[in-house]
Symmetry: C2
Subunit: 544 residues, 2 copies
Amino acid sequence: MVDSKQPLPAPPSPSNSPQQRRSWWGWGTEDKALPDAECTALGALLPGSAAAPLPVPSVSALTLPRVRVTPPSALAPIMSAAPLDRAAHTYGKAYRDVVRALHGDLAAAPDQVAFPRTERDVVDVLDWAAGADVAVVPYGAGSSVVGGVEYRADRHSGVVSLDLSGLDRVLEIDRLSRAARIQAGALGPALEAQLRPHGLTLRHFPQSFEFSTLGGWLATRAGGHYATLHTHIDDLVESLRVVTPSGVNQSLRLPGSGAGPSPDRLFLGSEGTLGVITEAWMRLQDRPCHKASVSVRFDDFAAATDAVRAIAQSGLHPANCRLLDPGEAALAGVARDGKSLLVLGVESAHVPVDGMLAELVILARDHGGSPVPAAPGGPDADASATWRSAFLRMPYLRDALARMSVISETFETACTWDRAPQLYEAVRRELGDVVRKVTGADAMIDCRFTHVYPDGPAPYFTVIAPGRRGDEVAMWDEIKSAAMQILGDHGATVTHHHAVGRDHRPGYDRQRPEPFALALRAAKRALDPAGILNPGVLLDPDPR
Amino acid sequence: MVDSKQPLPAPPSPSNSPQQRRSWWGWGTEDKALPDAECTALGALLPGSAAAPLPVPSVSALTLPRVRVTPPSALAPIMSAAPLDRAAHTYGKAYRDVVRALHGDLAAAPDQVAFPRTERDVVDVLDWAAGADVAVVPYGAGSSVVGGVEYRADRHSGVVSLDLSGLDRVLEIDRLSRAARIQAGALGPALEAQLRPHGLTLRHFPQSFEFSTLGGWLATRAGGHYATLHTHIDDLVESLRVVTPSGVNQSLRLPGSGAGPSPDRLFLGSEGTLGVITEAWMRLQDRPCHKASVSVRFDDFAAATDAVRAIAQSGLHPANCRLLDPGEAALAGVARDGKSLLVLGVESAHVPVDGMLAELVILARDHGGSPVPAAPGGPDADASATWRSAFLRMPYLRDALARMSVISETFETACTWDRAPQLYEAVRRELGDVVRKVTGADAMIDCRFTHVYPDGPAPYFTVIAPGRRGDEVAMWDEIKSAAMQILGDHGATVTHHHAVGRDHRPGYDRQRPEPFALALRAAKRALDPAGILNPGVLLDPDPR
């Protein structure tokens, strides 16, 4: 028997070395952005790209909108109107965000950025904002790719970006129940570093892991590490603590309950519109010591899809089950021969997993798959490792392409198996037509399945096509609008794990049942009567 | 590849033979109720029970309240004010319900019982009721043990019980996605009978399986067959169709989504207060062909609890993992030597399960468990089968005890592992004191874990003690009130899978976060502006 509740040391202090400084305009850290020469070389591979990269503007050379609100003196110590803070909190990290930043468009900059150090600070900011008619946009680490942290309404006296990154502690660990109370502003690495000494892990590893927070994951129902079973962060939540303008919502720590509709499920996916998540008790895992993985090639994407369905319906629950179509496999550098590639991974902290991997390989072979022998040596032999490295580098390449005025963006969805093949074909054909009309060129439209369920896959599409400098946002918006329409036409969700934000509103509004919209609006008015929380996300702001 | 959408034959017609007629006052069917002599014999085993059973009254001899409302002629064909229909729809099947029926107390009888044949009928009943200020109590098969189907308010012009049992069809099957569209009024056996020809099963087997409906399971977040992983019906839902007074709520069929808070999760557990569930697309399973089970004995309940925790945290997900404390094991007739008994079961439609069972047994042995060899022959050799048969017979025994004026009831909960041992001890000690005070006798208070999670168990308690004829309800209510207080004091939920209804309101109101209560009240007003839907469940009726 181990101690149930353990006092915890302070978290490791974050590095602020210039090499690891966060980019204000693009993904991740400044040191990992591609230099100009590499941008140019990358662009040269793509017909229609610009000849030279867009320069990265200096914030000091840009015009930010006038600051309209000043915080009361009690809040002044945690508020900043510094241009760099305002610029870095203007957008998320969608393609259209990066492009606008590169073009120096900071018209949507918040008036102030608040950096609360305690939950009390969060309460105080909301109290002041509600009285002063100031919109509050909760901000974890700003990795939204759906316009989730960008104020676009026009009816408040001012806008504050509420940056939760100061609340980054693991506060309590219950080793017996394998759970921890964690503050919402903790970035992925900081959170895992605090759990590691206890042999525990949350094992939630979205692509944005380094640059997103627990609170952001919870507010957006993020998709994580597991390709099957516990795909969303939702399943790892034991209880939530949420500061709303109408009081603090603290749910009971429970392993399971049937007492009315789940209070937590109302706040999961509420995207900062109902309250600010400040803490959560999260269900943890023992650190896995048994791991095995294999790559399987398929001549035919349709056969690979059938294999993945059989695996998803087998009850075996592999941790990884990622299917790359031929284009996506080529893009990730793991197959350039027109084959589709399935990456399977299994893991356990308790029992050997080789038998399970063997069962999965049998299912894949039954559908025409050929396992790729893992040759000793070079990283190219291990498609799984190669893919993972490409996966984490992808957003930096996206930024480089943006600088070369190449449209490069993704969108993701989920649908039932009966609709998946038609959806895949429709996106490639119909969206291909749209891209051709918009850009005059043939697009690269590739697909992978990031998560799979017994009743359907979560396809994730990549679109790459030449843009016209200055018109990139309008061009992408036209493509994105068509993509949402195609998804809707095929009964697929507008988002599986990127959230709704502002960019997905048209598709979300079409798929959301109207009675639920009535209920959500009513809940919003009850919890946020002044209508200050992230206006425009999920719901239109109430008319004045 | 199989046909995705298959036209379906009509369901088997229900048997109406007198042997299988539903009991109006007690559990299940009339033919399975214990005859008077068996009631007397059973009572003789328990000190303090009555000398002779309470007679079962004839409905025709009872006084029902005056019928206050008459349906419009268009609805007359689906409405009944027949005394037997009204009597049978007055209560659920809690101990206090059965006792009141036996005492002939039908003061809460609805004025009318509606039997809709189509969803249109449901809409029409709600439209009429909203205009006529008539309360509508949705009714699946009436197995609620928490006062979920009993009108107790006093502010409507009348009350209609809305019996959904006419909507009992499986309407569509998507074999590829392994899902089916099922009407909410289908009883467990009827639903499974319609799925069986397709090789599919929902595998949701609550104790009430024969006498409860899909819609009831969904509205109450019922707990089912699986002791781990997919414990509640919630996890098996692909989409819901709900008739609300403000319109029909139809969610998209999706295997997973991150588009805002889940619409389905607002209606799951809403217990008829927000709308009437009429259909759902449910995720199905292939019928398992690999099965294995074992019983493991422990000298010590604390050691058994540790074993179960290790199993719940192993990632092995056994289908059955039911721990019986010594009293519960004796009651079920599977161990009478003071040992605790763990019943483990594994199953799969796809892969052999013997290896997994072996891993589970290793974990149980590590914590001092002794597997019981399954001797060939007699049913006594197989504790699992013995337990299951006792499990299904239990509610009939409860009714027999009720007739002998013995208090016999259960309550169930869930809590984290760090609190489970103290909770177990507190219930036995503190509630034992309360029962002694109330009844003057020592109670039998036993416990089993019905479901277990990585972060905690779901303990299920049985209380048996002598009552005083005529005072049974008041005595039980005093015991129940203390039980809710003890659960709350230990951070345990007021219900894991029996729902809130009216009986659990005090405990539920204490554990529900107040901002969530505000949101739920607001959602209720938006969807049910006239306040006619199951008033008093989850929320107080709005003041007039």
